[in-house]
């Protein structure tokens, strides 16, 4: 069990380091277009979509530093991507570890 956990943890660290590979996939994702992409496709932006799409401003939108001016620089976007992965692992793992320890039976 302990050896397995250690190996899983090592695997997770490797995944974090390799995460920027996910940036190399360029292309659109069906149903996740931005307003401009929709406008290009349809010639208009559906009213409700336009209104709702700005309802939340994420601190690190699309796992990048806010502002978007650094999206051209691969080292910067790779750094933001790794930082995002670290935040994800620490928050998800930390929260569930803490709550899990509190509610666990034995």
């Amino acid at each position: 069990m302990d050896k397995m956990l250690r190996n899983f943890a090592i695997g997770l660290v490797l995944l974090i380091i390799l995460a920027p590979l996910g940036l190399l996939a360029v292309g659109e994702t069906f149903g996740e277009w931005g307003s401009e992409e929709i406008k290009e496709k349809l010639g208009y932006v559906p009213q409700g979509l336009e209104k709702l799409s700005g309802v939340w401003n994420a601190p690190l939108p699309d796992y990048a530093f806010p502002g978007g001016e650094n999206s051209e620089s691969l080292p910067l976007s790779a750094a933001a991507y790794i930082l995002s992965a670290v935040i994800g692992v620490v928050v998800c793992g930390g929260l569930l570890y803490f709550v899990g320890k509190k509610v666990a039976r034995d």
């Binding site: 397995m4 996939a25 069906f30 149903g31 709702l52 994800g88 793992g93």
Partner: protein, 239 residues
């Protein structure tokens, strides 16, 4: 498959909040009733793993990109109810902190990826495994099929939710208010790119991790704990 804000109308996303609140409540109750402290690190790792695996965008022919979720293996290892909690935590963080998936669509995304995937994954694995030995290679195949089927069905759900928007939400003139494409576009688009692409990746990940656990310590698998617990006192008695 992270539905952003603006693609689902209020009638749809509110319906999913109404569906998800009792599911989260029950999953939480089940988790606190069943979770053993030995399992806690695994639960934490599972959420962290699925968070990161969803960042691995892979391209498929046709110019589209997407990712695996890791939800099937989490369901097989932790059980589907614990997986609901682990995956929901990852999905909520992705929405709040990274804008991956909408705030309004959190419940719909948690349903598609956090409920459909682990439940379909777990029960597919169970069904195909039958009563075979825990170390049987048939179970590796079962895990692979569970991974493929669960992500593909989840993509169907997302495609369906997208496609009913023009029917449910349009102006009096018939102009769509949210997702503009009809079912005949959204369902094939979502299902095909998953079935032929991302679900294969999910199948590989599920089978690979399952095979590793099979070789290392099968007592961590959901439902196998009680069996191994029963064995231990016997082994102690005979020693």
């Amino acid at each position: 498959m992270h539905i952003p804000d603006g693609y689902l109308g209020p009638n749809t996303y509110i319906a999913f909040w109404i569906i998800m609140v009792p599911i989260w409540y029950f999953a939480g109750k089940k988790l606190s009733a069943e979770l053993r402290s030995k399992q806690v690190p695994l639960l934490a790792l599972a959420a962290a793993f699925s968070f990161v695996i969803m960042m691995f965008n892979v391209p498929i022919p046709g110019g589209s990109t997407g990712h695996a979720v890791g939800g099937a293996i989490v369901g097989i290892v932790l059980g589907p109810w614990a997986a609901v909690i682990a995956l929901s935590v990852a999905l909520v963080l992705q929405a709040l902190m990274f804008g991956d998936g909408g705030i309004t669509a959190i419940a719909a995304n948690c349903f598609n990826m956090g409920v459909v995937i682990p439940f379909v994954g777990y029960y597919t694995y169970k069904f195909i495994s039958g009563s075979t030995e825990i170390t049987s290679s048939r179970r590796v195949i079962a895990a692979a099929i569970a991974g493929w089927l669960s992500l593909t069905l989840a993509s169907f759900c997302a495609g369906f939710e997208f496609g009913i928007q023009p029917i449910l939400n349009h102006t009096p003139e018939g102009v769509p208010l949210y997702m503009p494409y009809p079912l005949s576009v959204t369902v094939p688009a979502m299902v095909l790119e998953h079935a032929l692409g991302f679900s294969i990746l999910e199948a590989l990940i599920t089978a690979l991790i399952f095979a590793y656990i099979q070789r290392t310590d099968t007592s961590v698998l959901y439902g196998e704990r009680s069996r191994s617990l029963k064995k231990e006192p016997n082994a102690a008695a005979s020693a």
